[in-house]
Symmetry: C2
Subunit: 197 residues, 2 copies
DNA sequence: GTCTATAAGAGGATAGAC
DNA sequence: GTCTATCCTCTTATAGAC
């Protein structure tokens, strides 16, 4: 109810949507109010009527992005399929690797990192995501501590895959990182006593 | 010979050193010529005497940073120790995790990504680094294709560890990602037939 | 609520003396 | 080679009409 588009708020929605798109492509610091205005099609003053400053616009736009992105991950990781298959589905999920992660890239954004209101949703996103993956590892029989470590590694591999793909302009980097990680998971699959830590 | 500090080039060296430090902390886009001048202690005109533009300064400073960072990795990965130990040493190497990777963070920098002269050394750095790690995996008995995939995953885990640590302000994220990755490598260590792909 | 016009300041680069 | 002074543009934000 609070965030659904309603009459009299068309400009606000257009601004947030445009901001999300521009932040995904260029980050927050490199996105100017003018760009947001031009992409959304609203006037200069409308932005500052709805949002006191650029940071206030970014805070709401980023909150939407992290919520949406976490929801997508949750759909894949929360199915009733076998835990191991859920983890591999998440790892192999189709991604625009050379574009970079729209959340992860914000950790190098000076505007995001210098405002707690912007940094916090980014940190919470990753904390929550790691918990989702860790739950799947536990469902697969890994004890809690080992599951958290492996889940952190899995999320890190995806984030690193984005960095490598973007640096080289080669989406194959993400693919190789993911397959290398899955190969290591598979190597230990039928060990005598199963995962230990 | 070409790059060693010499008489008459004091300002040039001071500028490059200051730029490297500022780029590591804030990135290229967010670093202004004025900041470089103030940190280096030289005058406004000296910067533009030695470097035609901000991008020219960045190109040389980034080349130095990638060369130095790759050299440090090479020292750890190129010793005569057992291959498996070299890989673990590289993964567990002491890092300022919450500061982010001084090379990897540049993949989210709009100035770097929009100039081929700046983007290329970043891509080459990762290509070379993955090859160094892949060589170690091959020394450890992994066939070439599997070694490249595992090496890409290893480098990605470190890059992702930086992203997670920076996002949450918690260096423990890097540690957990590394230990989770090593745990997966260890799980498959004494499998009946050894690594397959 | 939405628009146009405009102002204060920082970023990037140049001019020209020394 | 190095410096100070200056210029132009863009970013961010405000003013005030509609």
């Amino acid at each position: 109810m609070t965030s659904s588009p309603q009459r009299g708020h068309a400009a606000r929605e257009l601004l947030l949507s445009a901001a999300q798109e521009l932040y995904a492509a260029h980050g927050v610091a490199a996105t100017t109010p003018r760009q947001v205005i031009e992409l959304s099609g609203v006037g200069q003053g409308s932005l500052y009527h709805h949002f006191p400053s650029k940071v206030d616009l970014a805070a709401e736009a980023l909150h939407r992005t992290t919520t949406q992105t976490l929801g997508a991950a949750s759909e894949i990781l929360g199915t009733g399929l076998p835990a191991r298959g859920r983890i591999e589905s998440y790892l192999r999920k189709d991604r625009d690797a050379t574009a970079g992660c729209r959340v992860g890239r914000l950790t190098a954004d000076p505007v995001v990192m210098s405002h707690d209101d912007l940094r916090e949703p980014v940190g919470d996103y990753f904390t929550d995501l790691i918990q989702l993956v860790a739950a799947a590892f536990m469902d697969d029989g890994t004890p809690p501590d080992g599951a958290v470590n492996r889940a952190t590694a899995a999320v890190a591999v995806i984030q690193g895959g984005f960095v490598l793909s973007r640096a080289t302009g080669d989406a194959g980097q993400m693919q190789r990182a993911v397959e290398g990680f899955i190969a290591l998971m598979t190597d230990g699959e039928s060990s005598p006593a199963g995962p230990i830590n």
